[in-house]
């Protein structure tokens, strides 16, 4: 083993050691900062939101959408993903976000869990990142209304973490319009 390190010049060995130390550091840091969470970040109305990867089934492009008469406004319609029928929810409507502007992007994120599955519309999807849970701050006091029930907190960024399990299991998001 030692033979390997004796071969190069002393300086080289130092550089290598230094590099090794640099590479080793993040691991140590990670242990210190505690539990993390893999999240999928996306844009809604010019704001950044994220959901836990645990509930993300897939991200895909919205192609052919079929609107359904007799459904509430937050249901955009239904699509078929490889033969499976998935309903698409517009969270902007459900969260009472102002619907200003037209979005150029039409990505959808299929959420699944708690016995429920539907897709949400996103303006843009940034990708998966690792967030440290201890960095999660509380929501600003000014936030109120239905959005508050569905937000876990804010990561620095700001990046709002959605309570995905609450969204998935919320009875108001289930449509039973046929009931009289």
């Amino acid at each position: 083993m030692t033979g390997l390190f004796q071969q190069p010049e002393c300086e080289d060995a130092n550089i290598l050691l230094e590099r090794a130390r640099c590479l080793a550091e993040p691991l140590g840091q990670k242990e210190k900062t505690g539990e993390g969470l893999d999240v999928l970040t996306f844009w809604l109305n010019g704001e950044r939101y994220c959901v836990s990867m645990k509930y993300v089934r897939e991200v895909t492009l919205l192609r052919a959408l079929t609107t359904l008469p007799g459904t509430p406004d937050f249901i955009l319609g239904i699509i078929s993903i490889r033969g499976r029928v998935v309903s698409v929810t517009d969270l902007r409507v459900f969260f009472n976000l102002p619907r200003k502007g037209l979005s150029d992007y039409n990505k959808i994120i299929v959420l699944s869990g708690e016995g429920m599955e539907f897709a949400i519309l996103a303006d843009q999807v940034d990708g998966v990142s690792h967030q440290i849970l201890s960095h999660l701050g509380p929501l600003p006091e000014t936030i109120s209304g239905i959005g508050k029930d569905f937000l876990e907190g804010v990561f620095p960024g700001p990046l709002m973490l959605i309570k995905t399990e609450a969204v998935l299991s919320h009875p108001k998001l289930v449509v039973r319009s046929a009931q009289i």
Binding site: R63, L65, T66, L68, L76, V85, S87, A178, I180
Partner: protein
Amino acid sequence: MAVQDDEFLTRLLATFREEAADHLQAIISGVLDLEKNSTCTQSVEIEPVYRATHSLKGAARAVGLKDIESVCQHLESVFSAVRKGDFILQSEEFDLVHQVISTLEALLAGDTVVKAGPLIYKLKQIVPISGASQKSGTTSIQISDSSHHQHAQIPKQAEYLSQPLPLSSAIHPEQADVIKETQIKHDKSDKLCEDSPSELRSQFVPSLTQASTTVRISEERLRSLYEVTDDLLSYRLSSGVRLSDLKEIAQIIRTWRWNMNRIEGDVSHLKRQILDNQDSIERLVSFIDVTRDLIGSCETKLDSTIKSMIQDQYEMDSVITGLIENIREVVLTPFSTLSDSYPRMIRDIAREQNKQVNLSISGSDIEIDRRILEIIKDPMIHILRNAVDHGIEPADLRVSMHKPPGGEISIEIVHNRANQITITVRDDGQGINTDAASEAAVEKGFITREEAERMPSDQKALLVFRSGFSTSKTVSTVSGRGLGLAIVQEKVNQIGGSIDIKTIPGKGTTFSLNIPVTLSTFRGLLVYVENRPFFFPLDQVERVLIPDADDISTIEGRTVIQFEGQLIPVVMLNSILQLPGGSAEPEDARSFVLINNQGKVFGLIVSQICGAQEIVVRGLGPQLKEVRFISGVAILNNNTVVPVLQVDDLVQAMQGVDTTVGMKNDLSSSLSGRQKIMVVEDSITSRMLLKNILEGSGYEVETAVDGLDAFTKLKTTQVDLVVSDVDMPRMSGFVLTEKIRSEKNLVDLPVILVTSLDSREDREHGITVGANAYIIKSSFDQSNLIDVIKRLIGAGR
């Protein structure tokens, strides 16, 4: 090793539960038979029950379930005594036996609270001699019933296989094979029993002569298999679409070749001209040559690909069709898997209410898609419960009405057509009091009193299907909440079936359910409304027609058409579905779909009828549990999702709609010729939003997915204004505007650019190419857009 044993035991227990359920079912139906028939044949008829009990005992011992084993042992002793003729079961003992069976069910379900002790004690009281000495040898089994004669040769094997395994704790994997064999059960063995006079077939037939031909597959696996097949079906269709796409490309190349041939002369002319060695022209000409050769070779390749793909398509078609047919047959299950539990259920309800009920079932061997069985499971239970609860009268009342004290309920399953069966549930009870029914409906506000008075009595019976309806004054544990029959009808309609009810006061009630045998053979009528596709369930469509203008008239403010001497109310489908806008269809192109809802005919006006086709109906996903007007969706070959309409909801809505208003508006607007706007936008959400906004303001909207699409459409369609995005594939909004401005007959067409590009240069670029207005997406506002449009071409209506 210990872990493996644990796993093995868990698996073994699961297997045992399945096996035990079969045995228990055999015991239940056998006991019910005994109860029904005369006591003198008990010693013979007890045989299958006795054997099932014995097998259950053995199986329980093998997996170490002591409680079940000991209950079975004592039950077996009782049956053994009956079999020997020492003892005859009377109604008291039957009650005890039923209690024991319930306890066994609870124990099997893993209920640890149930105490078997007192029951064992009672069983011991009946037959004091312990049956534990009963040997499992076969010598004592006597088969004297001729209907069981065919099994006489095999009791030995049966005994061997149902013999308990000697080990209860340390089971070696090698023995798993033996156990597996015991799970293998032969379905056809049921058929052997069909010629026995009893309607209730005993499931326990220890025929193992063809044992290895059937295997058990878990419901879950079968379902996923079925889903995959459904997917396969859509891929088969979409591959056909790809093929036609390829053919289209080949066609484009052929057009190119035609154009190329036209300039071929020019090219060779050019070649001859290159005398003064002009490099650039030479390069140009050689490039044309290379390109022609390249495209030529592409064309050849494309043609051969298409040919082989057509071949593949044919072969795939036949393979997939075969596979789907096979799998469809695999999921067919005899109706008896449902109906086997009915006798006991009826008995229990009847007991509870001190009524006497005889149940007979015929045709339960008819096979149906298990998914359909799953759906009609609850409706069937509901109808049967209703029959006992509301139909059959108490015995003394029956006698006073000169009826036999015991009520009769019969279930009859008949294969009707290729893909339809009819289930008839008939009772000889008091029938539905149609006057009380209409009275209750008036009270609930479903119908007015005048309507009730005019209603014929068979129509009144149908009122029971309304949600929230119940004639029962009190709510009992079994029924009376008034939701039941509405749900029954909904479920039956969901699978494309229909339900009918006939009742004669004092004589009884008959429910007839027409249901399809397989789900996948649903046929739908494809229609378009406002450019949106919908399916009508074909079996509820009476016919389609395009009536003459003279046939349309109004009565009491409602639009009706005259058809075969009948006046049929008609409504625009888009006004029921509340779809925005109303495209300017020429009046004579209006197509009418006549739907038949429980004998009544209604008309719906759609823009276009595209014919019937076979579809796979799917649910709307877990989020959309119930959607008004929509019962499911079908996925068409090009991956578009088409909603399937729920006719009941439509009819209900029609009765509430003031039909003339929608008609008149739409007619007048279509006559006045509304302004037409073309929306060019590659993002589907923005496209839809713009379309909705504009249609909401009374404009007619045509859409295009990019500049090229728009420009092609503009050549054939007359529009008054173009609203276009800038950043699009194939052709941008700038280029589109330029093209419009350079086209002779489009030069004055107003163009509004809607864009996310917000720099001064872009704005200037937009104005330079000739756009009339430039709207920035980030500051987009509906009213702003409408104002600009109004300024350019005036209001929509």
